[in-house]
């Protein structure tokens, strides 16, 4: 077994809206019941003032840190969450839940519809980032937490952070949106659409009704391969792969013989084992529909918000370029929010929020320390 400071962690489940009107979604439909899978690390203090919600990105899940029970697999942000780490579990109580529409324990298109006893497939309603956040708020209510010390996340996780800030400003002391945006750009939508079309074009997809037969593995794998290209940078790919060829290159015309090709195939193939193609469609669409400025002005976006803000961007991130983070800061300036922004000099591209942990740790550790201190002396 691998060494891990947090050790084995257990997934938990929270089900709500089982009776009554159900859980109201932005599309107008009600959904019932809703299950959220979540994990929690550290101890909630007596005053319940040390809770931090971590929001995951497109392909993430509730398993953010520690080793998953039975799987021996470290969490997706294990280098950032744990004893003595940026999100210090010796000080803070860390919660991470799988998003609504996901496929890792929370209600999503691959969940069983209790009425039909079959997976929902495309009968699962459309979800938005706001719906995901509303569901998280139910979980936070259930855990008895009035005010989160912080909400943090990168990429789509950052969209959830910003939604929390705009929708429930009274429920958080601070927010940490990383490598994210106030609205998805045409370029971001375009890449997601290519990914979705790869899934939809796979004959195994069968209008989303593939449960019980072969899943659209080719399509989902291709979507993931495209995604991975956008998460890296020209520099990081040059450094990681160069033009090196794989040793077992076979003399077939179109064999994936470059290292970079092999890497993409490997990542694509691995992804299919743990991710549902329909969830990919639903969640990527939620990202594309995300526009926090819809119906709001930049001036009005964070008006009256008292939370402290830490915005982090990465220099080589061309998928979520720093101008998008600066737009968040502009809204914060217009609302008079005390804020910190850093554009970290990294070559990792968008993936930097998962990899560039030294600088990220420094920024987050000191920021949280300050926020936690200021609520204690108040």
């Amino acid at each position: 077994m691998k060494e891990n400071a947090l050790g084995l962690v257990k997934a938990q489940e929270f089900t709500f809206a089982g009776s009554g009107e159900g859980f109201k979604l932005e599309c107008g439909e009600s959904f019932s019941p809703v299950t959220l899978a979540y994990e929690a690390y550290g101890q909630l203090n007596r005053d319940k003032t040390n809770a931090i919600l971590i929001a995951h990105a497109l392909s993430g899940d509730a398993h953010a840190a520690g080793l998953a029970d039975g799987e021996n697999r470290a969490g997706w942000w294990d280098n950032m969450i744990g004893p003595g780490k940026a999100f210090d579990t010796d000080k803070y109580f860390i919660i991470c839940s799988n998003v609504l529409g996901g496929c890792r324990g929370s209600s999503g298109p691959s969940s069983i519809n209790p009425k039909t006893r079959k997976p929902y497939g495309l009968s699962f309603p459309s979800v938005t980032i706001r719906d995901m956040v509303n569901a998280q708020k139910e979980l936070i209510d259930y855990l008895g937490i009035d005010k989160l010390l912080s909400v943090a996340g990168g990429s789509m996780g950052g969209m959830q952070v910003l939604t929390w800030l705009a929708a429930y400003p009274g429920r958080l002391q601070s927010a940490i949106p990383i490598a994210t945006t106030l609205k998805h750009s045409p370029q971001q939508i375009a890449f997601n659409e290519v990914g979705r079309q790869a899934i939809i074009a796979d004959p195994c997809w069968r209008n989303g009704d593939y449960y019980g037969s072969a899943p659209p593995a080719k399509g989902l794998s291709l979507a993931r391969m495209i995604g991975h290209i956008t998460y890296m940078s020209d520099q990081s790919m040059e450094k990681k792969f160069g033009r090196i060829k794989k040793k077992d290159a076979r003399p077939f015309k179109f064999t994936a013989d470059f290292e970079v090709e092999g890497y993409l195939h490997y990542r694509g193939g691995n992804f299919v084992k743990r991710f549902d193609a329909n969830s990919y469609l639903y969640i990527s669409k939620a990202m594309d529909n995300f526009n926090l400025l819809d119906g709001r002005t930049l001036q009005g976006l964070f008006k009256g918000v008292k939370a402290r803000l830490l915005v982090i961007a990465f220099k080589s991130d061309w998928l979520y370029p720093s101008y998008q983070s600066k737009e968040i800061i502009k809204a914060a300036k217009l609302a008079g929010l005390e804020s910190t922004y850093c554009e970290v000099d990294s070559t990792y591209g968008h993936d930097a929020f998962l990899l560039e942990t030294k600088e990220e740790t420094h920024l987050i550790r000191h920021f949280l320390k300050k926020v936690f201190y200021s609520i204690q002396v108040r």
Binding site: Q299, R308, K326, I329, K330, K333, L334, G336, E338, S339, T340, Y341, C342, E343, V344, D345, E359, H362, L363, H366, F367, K369, K370, Y373
Partner: protein, 204 residues
């Protein structure tokens, strides 16, 4: 706090800023001034700094700092967003001196400017007798590596403020270790001005 550890220009600025006010420090460096303002005056401080490592030091001090250049950083703020906008030892390094100066008067109810005095007698002597670009305690750079792009004297800045309809309400002149009370344009290394938008009125 032991005031002996605080640089002389920071001490002067500290004097000019009232308690419990809001301050925007443009080119805040490692955040030393904001740190003192928070501890001594209970100010709410926001910094803007271009250097990434300086940003990390500010964050380690628990300060709010925005990584970026002063020009674009300032223009995004609404009118009268802060009680004070501080431009200490940074204005002379800005290519767009004029637009930043105007924006500072718009964003801050008051503006504090700290500048090295190019007409200090040592500068004059080095240039006149030595015939070389001067290097002094307040202008410590060689001509080839100086971050300064504007070289001005106290009198130059006074004229400039008049032309820009900025009122100097207070001036503090500093030598290396003490205040300068006589002939500041000749004897002061550094001048600290408190300004506000409005008609020119001499004092201090």
């Amino acid at each position: 706090m032991d005031h002996g550890n605080i640089p002389i220009d920071h001490r002067a600025i500290l004097e000019l800023i009232e308690k419990q006010t809001s301050v925007l420090d443009l080119g805040c460096g490692r955040g030393e001034l904001m740190d003192i303002l928070i501890k001594e005056k209970g100010c709410r401080c926001q910094g803007i700094e271009i250097d990434e490592n300086a940003v990390y030091e500010c964050v380690a001090r628990g300060l709010s700092v925005l990584h970026g250049d002063i020009d674009s950083g300032l223009s995004e703020y609404a009118d009268n967003s802060f009680d004070y906008v501080v431009l200490n030892q940074s204005l002379q390094q800005l290519r767009h001196f004029d637009s930043v100066f105007k924006d500072a008067l718009r964003v801050g109810r008051r503006v504090i400017v700290g500048l090295p005095n190019f007409a200090h007698y040592k500068t004059r002597l080095q240039l006149f007798f030595g015939g070389k670009a001067p290097v002094t305690p307040s202008l410590p750079y060689n001509w080839f590596d100086s971050p300064n792009v504007h070289f001005l004297s106290i009198l130059d800045f006074r004229d400039y403020c008049k032309s820009r309809d900025a009122r100097i309400t207070h001036s503090i002149y500093l030598g290396e270790k003490m205040r300068i009370l006589l002939l500041p344009n000749l004897l002061a290394n550094v001048a600290i001005f408190l300004l506000k938008a409005g008609t020119v009125l001499e004092s201090g």
